[in-house]
Point group: C2
Chain length 387, copies 2
DNA sequence: GCGATTTTGTTCTTGGTGAGAACTTAACGG
DNA sequence: CCGTTAAGTTCTCACCAAGAACAAAATCGC
């Protein structure tokens, strides 16, 4: 809704609504159901669909008849319609995937990288290998804040202030969108996971430390400099008085996440080392080993305490977790919820936020990157140019 | 933009945009400037204005000519156009005011109350005294969270769970909107004050304790149960290990605000007592008394520390303060900013959020209530019914 | 098996919307 | 006093969605 003034805008607007409905629907929409969903006449939907079909965006296929009435058609993505690519850059590997209208995600390629910004070249080359003229945009998920949308800070790769614009040349797809992985994982939950339909929600990705995003009506919150979401760097649990790598004292991240687990066992957390040991600690806790169990307990309590505090401030209806958070919920749900309740103001304890494991899984950042990248297609501006 | 489908919607939509532009403008818009602002043709604006004039919403007055060209007209609120009332319920007094298109606020009446929900009767009677057929809606500002929009918790009045629906009968104006005062003060700053035009911003009202709101694109954030904004009840400074009246340990509010000042002087904070002493402490600090000065120092440092933490999470471009916060900025700006920087992640310290005193002043909650109440008029739904 | 029913697609008319061009009006300036 | 400038007015036009009436294609009941 950038602006909407003329009757020509109206047509594009309704077509965008239609494409969005098709994209977000669980099952393929029929032509008639689309009309009902949009609250629009059957005659009008015919016009919309017609133009979108000739524009190569929608493809109509006869629908299996169910019950009475004239058979209708399914609205499917056009086989030669636009697609977006999505890349997820993890610790030492990356994945490239493709998404099309309707949300179908297809893996394209996976590779390893050398933990330097040369990974952008890898992805550029992979993109070029798989690109067709259907490719519209590329979304990239990165495990760190991206100041002003261009300056990357990825502590566990040792990237201090990598300029994104220097990494991205001119020979990329039309639009490149780069965003933080925790934020994108939250977006994935909001679009395709446990946070569907939630008005106000929080998502946290717990890895070595903890990052997340506030979700409002299915939109992630970016902040003024595109670095909103560093919830892990609030002193929500005191942080045992330690100083955090981020430069602040007492961060929540010092008590929650794999780094906190490692510290319990004398391993001073570094740049991403120790993931294996972290998994081991979890396994030993599950097997009943006392010291490991206590470490996990502390992690869960600190997590819950922080969630309660954040719930006071932001009043989410649900909170989802990914990464280590999924394991913590599985092993210590009661501890988390109890600690959360303790952090909640008394009058809110009757209606605590639901704390859920994310359902999108490890592909969260990739899925989120795909969704943001495909958002370019689902905009009035792009559509105007296409039709 | 609830939904927008037909060409009739388009007309109402543009008329709403026009009214909003008139309402939000600093100086009265001329007909021609409105056309430019909306990016719409002169002929179209004529049609819009014409209908709005006959609907009794706008009133055209010849504009003073400046320079060449055919003289135009000013778009002013219609003298018999719709107005909203706004009420601010403070500790032991209340104010009723009227707002009209363009934002002009006119005080109507002030009264005292007995700190019981009987104050709603006072306001109902005052509203009836001043009501004309121009009255469309009433906004009420209250100093506490309003769970699910109906259950009031105002600690310093001793209201534990007052049901708003029982207080509001049927003989009120068409629409009654009730909201938290800190949130409304923030809205006032966003609409008419220091936060105009800010995308992501925070506002805090510091009184006995501290409450606030996250502002996104000029909209306050309400949360899932309408109780977002209790930032004072996060453990951002440790709270000296004390337990807060809210039921949680270590709240930020224990270290920031008048209650924190009082506790320094041995006064256990109760339900709103001690405001006078709080003012005295500030005055003594300003006069150079050491102990009072240290109390104010601590308050400022705790404030800054919390703001830094919140900035990490939410990345606001600006933070405004009202209430005691204005004094703290005046007396201890450096301390606040320094403490804030210490709480900011290192890589953000080059671009700290601006920390500003609110410019709307004490009328903030009233102004905010007026704006929300008047929002009813500036909606497509209401307009559709009126024309 | 055939007609009634139900649901959907199609066609045509209609009211409404803003854009654009051309023209008019009303000020100022030299 | 006439040219310039800016704004209001009028008229045509392309376009859009709604609504009504009708046609098409399936199921259901007898």
């Amino acid at each position: 809704m950038p602006q909407m003034k003329t009757s020509a805008d109206l047509r594009v607007h309704n077509q965008t609504r239609l494409l969005r409905a098709v994209h977000d629907a669980d099952q393929p929409l029929t032509r008639a159901s689309a009309a009902r969903v949009l609250g629009i006449g059957r005659n009008t939907i015919a016009a919309l669909v017609g133009e979108l079909e000739t524009a190569g965006l929608l493809h109509e296929v006869p629908a299996a008849t169910t019950g009475r009435g004239r058979p209708t058609t399914l609205l499917l993505p056009h086989p030669r319609g636009p697609v977006a690519f999505a890349a997820d850059i993890r610790e030492d590997s990356w994945t490239l995937a493709q998404i099309e209208l309707g949300g179908r995600l297809t893996g394209l390629e996976t590779g390893e990288h050398d933990r330097t910004p040369a990974v952008f070249d890898d992805i550029r080359r992979a993109t070029r290998r798989h690109a067709t003229d259907r490719l519209v945009s590329l979304g990239i998920a990165l495990a760190g804040p991206i100041l002003d949308g261009r300056r990357l800070h990825i502590s566990h790769l040792g990237w201090d202030e990598v300029d994104l614009y220097e990494q991205i040349g001119d020979d990329w797809p039309p639009t490149v969108v780069v965003d933080n992985d925790a934020r994108l994982a939250g977006l994935a939950e909001a679009r395709r996971g446990a946070l569907r339909g939630a008005g106000t929600a929080l998502h946290f990705h717990i890895d070595f430390d903890i990052g997340g995003t506030l979700l409002l009506g299915g939109h992630t919150q970016r902040g003024a400099h595109n670095i909103a979401g560093e919830f892990g760097h609030m002193p929500l649990t005191g942080g045992s008085g330690l100083r955090c790598m981020c430069g602040v004292q007492g961060c929540w991240s010092l008590d929650v996440g794999t780094n906190a687990l490692l510290r319990r066992f004398g391993r001073e957390p570094g740049y991403g080392a120790g993931r294996q040991l972290g998994r081991e600690i979890l396994a030993r806790a599950e097997a009943g080993e006392a010291e490991a169990g206590r470490a996990v307990d502390d992690n869960a309590v600190a997590l819950g305490r922080g969630l309660g505090a954040l719930a006071n401030a932001l009043d989410p209806e649900a909170i989802t977790l990914s990464g280590l958070g999924v394991e913590l919920i599985r092993l210590r749900r009661d501890l988390i919820e109890h600690a959360c309740a303790e952090g909640l103001m008394e009058f809110r304890r009757a209606q605590p936020p639901r704390i859920l494991a994310g359902t999108v899984g490890e592909a969260g950042p990739l899925r989120g990157a795909a969704e943001t990248a495909f958002d370019a297609v689902l905009s009035a501006g792009w559509l105007r140019g296409r039709i």
